[in-house]
């Protein structure tokens, strides 16, 4: 059976050759082998294109800048990336006409930390074996592990294996496994804690924040020309955490700004160097939106109104917060 990277290269090559697109956005080797980096390739550079279990990065945000340029670009989008892509199209941030979307197969992406957590030390490189198995070359010899045991958080709760935007697909035909985990389980667990326990939990998590802004920079919804936190005129500008409240404020506002627009792509948590589970903030908003205003998946289409730019006269009152689960 043909590997997906070969299908991608073949299709990309053809599209470049016939002039449909003049460049391709995908991934190339990064600093470390487990850290492939989004990159743009022109014809003739395709041999550097990489796609494997570590290509978790979502390239859709790069299309904002890319579609400002001349010509058409081929975007390699995993199913979850297509949601971000749609949301960006909806918000007029990406020019749909300048993108050729190749929806690519995804079997879930690996988290290097989870491989390390399995006790595998001195990792040098990893090879993918058929049957969703990973062959790990270490300085102590080769080890194997199951991809399913080392999935990224966002893949554990994969929202869909369907491409919601695509001009063509690159699939091997093998079924893509569905998500094994309920994505709101942790949110629900937190909700059932006492406020003091929740406060302690978040204090513990958020106080680790070093305000590196990685979450913001990677987030496809955080695509403002200038972030309010960088804008002196906004009155909330701050680059560093000067006190215990700053990171609360930053993360609440950031989550609020993307509420109703966040597709739950999970990039914020993936890139956080402090391993703060930032997706739990976004998922709280998503869970509330679903419960209060009906199921809504940002990026499922490019036309519907987001829940925060919409209303019904019979919406729940804010006092519902007083009546919900968890002790007070």
């Amino acid at each position: 059976m043909q590997r997906v990277i070969e299908i991608i290269k073949e299709k990309a090559g053809k599209l470049l050759a016939d002039g449909t697109v003049d460049r391709v956005i995908g991934w190339k080797d990064g600093e470390f082998f487990y850290d492939p980096t989004p990159a743009v390739f022109s014809a003739g550079e395709l041999e550097n294109l990489r796609y494997d279990s570590f290509c978790g990065a979502n390239v859709s945000k790069y299309l904002i800048a890319e579609t400002k340029k001349e010509g058409k670009i081929l975007a390699l989008l995993k199913p979850c990336d297509t949601y971000s892509f749609n949301e960006l199209v909806k918000e007029h941030r990406v020019d749909r006409d300048k993108v050729y979307v190749l929806g690519i197969e995804c079997r879930g992406k690996a988290d290097i930390n989870k491989i390390r957590d399995l006790g595998i030390k001195g990792i040098e490189s990893i090879e993918e074996l058929p049957g969703d198995e990973l062959l790990v070359h270490t300085i102590y010899g080769d080890k194997t592990c199951k991809l399913n045991d080392v999935l990224l958080e966002k893949c554990l709760c994969c929202k869909s294996k369907t491409h919601v935007a695509s001009d063509d697909l690159a699939l091997t035909g093998e079924p893509m496994p569905e998500a094994p985990k309920d994505r709101f389980a942790m949110v629900a667990k937190l909700e059932m804690m006492t406020p003091d326990e929740r406060f302690e939990f978040w204090r513990g998590e958020l106080s680790r924040c070093i305000r590196c802004n990685a979450c913001r920079n990677v987030c496809p919804a955080c695509s403002c020309l200038k972030c309010v936190f960088d804008n002196d005129a906004s009155g909330v500008a701050s680059k560093a955490n000067a006190d215990t409240f700053e990171e609360n404020m930053f993360h609440i506002i950031r989550a609020f700004h993307v509420a109703g627009r966040c597709t739950d792509c999970g990039e914020c948590s993936r890139v956080c160097p402090q391993h703060i589970p930032l997706h739990l903030l976004n998922r709280k908003f998503i869970k509330d939106i679903n419960e209060f205003y009906g199921e809504y998946q940002a990026g499922a289409d490019t036309t519907s109104r987001g829940p925060l730019t919409d209303y019904t006269p019979d919406d729940v009152e804010p006092s519902i917060v007083m009546k919900r689960g968890g002790d007070q």
């Binding site: 918000e91 007029h92 200038k226 804008n231």
Partner: protein, 666 residues
């Protein structure tokens, strides 16, 4: 920026209203110590000429760049102080009010607490003022044409007055004729003129006035725009009769074989044909085909009307027409209807045809009504010998079945009915159950007393508990509170003074106009006492019962008052706009369209604009939001939905509100 400010603070005593609880001198002293404050004083009445001249003098003497006034609510005197500042050469939007009366001295008793709070409020106003920008109100044109929604006496009077002043007026009436409720009435209190005799000439005037255009059998489709520049779409429903050709001969009506429809004009007491003119004096005197009843529309057969019409006016193919027009002002005169009595089983209204509402009774007494003015029972056509009137049916009712308010007109029309019955039929015994008889109005109480003293109407202080059928009689059980007795009257007819409610259409229209409406569906005034004929939405005026229960004289007075307001507006060539509008910082705007989605006025549009950027390309095209300042009303919904903070509101900017928060939490 803020360090360049020179601010004056003026603390008002409001006589003892503020000074009794707030140490005004201490407030002035505390403010004197604040940065940027170069002058602070207190004075007995800041709003008086003396107070205002102090402001003007201080602005000149100290070269003030801004003024904080600690006084009553800005809703009261903000405009006064802005004017005073402007006359001394200061931008009127460089004035901020600290509300130390309604929000402080009047609600706090402890002098220390109140003074401390007054100082905080003054500092808050100062913090905001430090960030104020001088604002200039833009101007917009005024379309010299008015729209009146509703063609009852209120709408007709407003339209006539506006036309009299020389402006074009359109009346939109949903029924096939103008005239409204008044056209259904028999006599009018307290003078007992016949309603038709005084109304129909006005209807004719409206029809013949060249400045007035009537759109009957028409409904409002949509309204957009703003004061001076509304755009309305009116749906002129298909009458299926060509208005230009029809001569109003009425032959079609005579020939129509479909005769089962309830006659709305007679409150369903008799029937009418499918093609019909609601009543003899209807304007326009052109019939309408009720397509639900018409045999041609139901089966494709018949067509008798068409065959008999020598003017060839019947047009089965006629379609609804949408008329789009610009207006400078809109008068709402949508009127009322009696409430449904479904929830008042105790009076047996639904079970017994001889229990009628007052409006039905009005039709029975009317010479042009279903009984030709003969007082007979609807059930058997017999002459009644005893009639019981019940007042306050569904009015002043907080149980949820009726309306909590007093319907205002029932006491008088019940007295009128009682009197008319007794005059025409002295053999009929008349009893009136009342809770209170409310007769404020010129010659009103005299009128009611005449019913009692001259016409011997039996007024019983008490309420009816139950009406039940006993043979061909109605047994009315009620209390007589003066005698402390429960009494039973065997009556032939019972007349219920049902509460009135605004026409339900008004809610739809209020939404179109963004005019506020209260829990009872009455339109809200801009000020209950001082601006009673204006809606809080600029350019929308209120006429008649849509604003609150009222009788004909009051309705006409309000209609003329609304017309005067409209004339005042249309007489202007330009209108000053509210400068507190949204604006978007194009350097921050992402063009994401979130603001457009939440804007209730459609004031935001987008454009592609070329921007300089670093790099080899030098420029790039970006999509940015643009606010139409003439349409924006300054709610600020866009400012919060904008993630980048590009959208801000002049006069209530993010920085200003943050500064207020900081000042309060200092």
């Amino acid at each position: 920026m803020s360090s360049l400010h020179k601010i004056g603070v003026f603390v008002c005593w409001c006589g003892s209203n503020i000074a009794a609880t707030v140490d005004v001198a201490a407030v002035a002293e505390a403010m004197r110590a604040e940065p940027n404050v170069v002058y602070a004083t207190d004075y007995q009445y800041m709003c008086s000429e003396g107070g205002q001249s102090r402001i003007r003098e201080a602005i000149k003497e100290y070269g003030l760049t801004g003024v904080v006034i600690c006084s009553c609510s800005p809703r009261m005197h903000e405009a006064t102080f802005r004017k005073a500042a402007q006359s001394a050469g200061l931008n009127p939007y460089m004035v901020e009010i600290a509300n130390i009366r309604e929000h402080c001295s009047w609600i706090h008793k402890d002098r220390m607490d109140a003074t401390a709070k007054a100082i905080v409020l003054a500092r808050t106003a100062l913090a905001k003022l430090n960030l104020n920008q001088p604002l200039t109100a833009g101007e917009s044109n005024v379309v010299k044409r008015a729209l009146v929604i509703g063609g009852g006496i209120a709408g007709i009077q407003s339209a006539l007055d506006i036309a009299e002043a020389g402006y074009e007026v359109d009346i939109v009436e949903k029924t096939p004729t103008i005239g409204g409720r008044m056209a259904q009435l028999d006599k009018t209190f307290p003078t007992l003129d016949c309603a038709a005799c005084i109304l129909t000439p006005k209807m004719v005037d409206a029809a013949q006035n060249e400045k007035i255009t009537l759109y009957t059998y028409s409904e409002m489709e949509s309204v957009s725009g703003f004061v001076g520049n509304f755009t309305a779409k009116i749906r002129k429903k298909a009458r299926h009769v060509n208005e230009d050709l029809c001569t109003g001969c009425g032959l079609c009506q005579e020939k129509c074989p479909s005769r089962k429809a309830k006659n709305e004009f007679n409150m369903g007491l008799n029937t009418r044909t499918a093609i019909y003119i609601p009543f003899a004096q209807a304007i326009p005197n052109v019939p309408v085909i009720d397509t639900e009843q018409c045999i041609h529309f139901k089966t494709g057969k018949c067509g008798l009307c068409q065959m008999n019409c020598s003017a060839k006016a019947i047009d089965f193919e006629q379609q609804d027409e949408i008329i789009e027009r610009q207006y400078g002002a809109i008068v709402v005169a949508t009127g009322f209807r009696p409430i449904s009595l479904e929830r008042f089983d105790e009076f047996g209204y639904s079970q017994n045809p001889d229990v009628v509402t007052s409006l039905e009774f009005e039709r029975i007494m009317n010479a042009a009504g279903p009984t030709k003015g003969q007082l007979v029972r609807p059930s058997d056509g017999k002459h009644p010998h005893c009639i019981v009137f019940v007042q306050c049916v569904g009015s002043r009712d907080t149980s949820g079945c009726g309306k909590p308010y007093c319907s205002k007109i029932c006491c008088m029309y019940t007295a009128k009915h009682a009197m008319l019955v007794r005059e025409k039929y002295p053999d009929v015994e008349v009893h009136v159950f009342y809770i209170d008889v409310r007769t404020p109005g010129k010659n009103f109480d005299e009128f009611y007393r005449r019913a009692v003293e001259q016409y011997d109407v039996d007024y019983i202080k008490g309420m009816v508990g139950k009406v039940s059928s006993h043979g061909d009689k109605l047994q009315v059980q009620g209390s007589d509170l003066i005698a402390d007795k429960q009494i039973i009257i065997d009556a032939d007819m019972v007349v219920l003074a049902a509460a009135i409610e605004p026409d339900p259409e008004v809610r739809k229209i209020a939404t179109m106009l963004t005019a506020s409406i209260d829990t009872n569906n009455f339109l809200t005034e801009a000020h209950p006492k001082l601006r009673p004929v204006e809606s809080p939405t600029a350019g929308v005026f209120l006429s008649g019962v849509c604003q609150g229960p009222k009788d004909i004289p009051e309705t006409v007075a309000q209609a003329s008052a609304a017309a005067a307001k409209v004339i005042g507006l249309l007489a202007k060539d330009k209108l000053k706009r509210n400068p507190c509008v949204a604006h978007s910082d194009e350097m921050l705007c992402n063009g994401c369209s979130a603001c457009e989605k939440v804007c209730p006025y459609g004031a935001i549009s987008y454009m592609d604009k070329e921007f300089r950027v670093p790099g080899p390309k030098r420029t790039e095209i970006r999509r940015i939001a643009v606010v139409n300042e003439a349409v924006c009303q300054g709610c600020g919904a866009c400012t919060v939905t904008c993630p980048s903070g590009a959208m801000d509101l002049k006069g209530f900017s993010t920085k200003q509100i943050m500064a207020e928060v900081d000042a309060i939490c200092r």
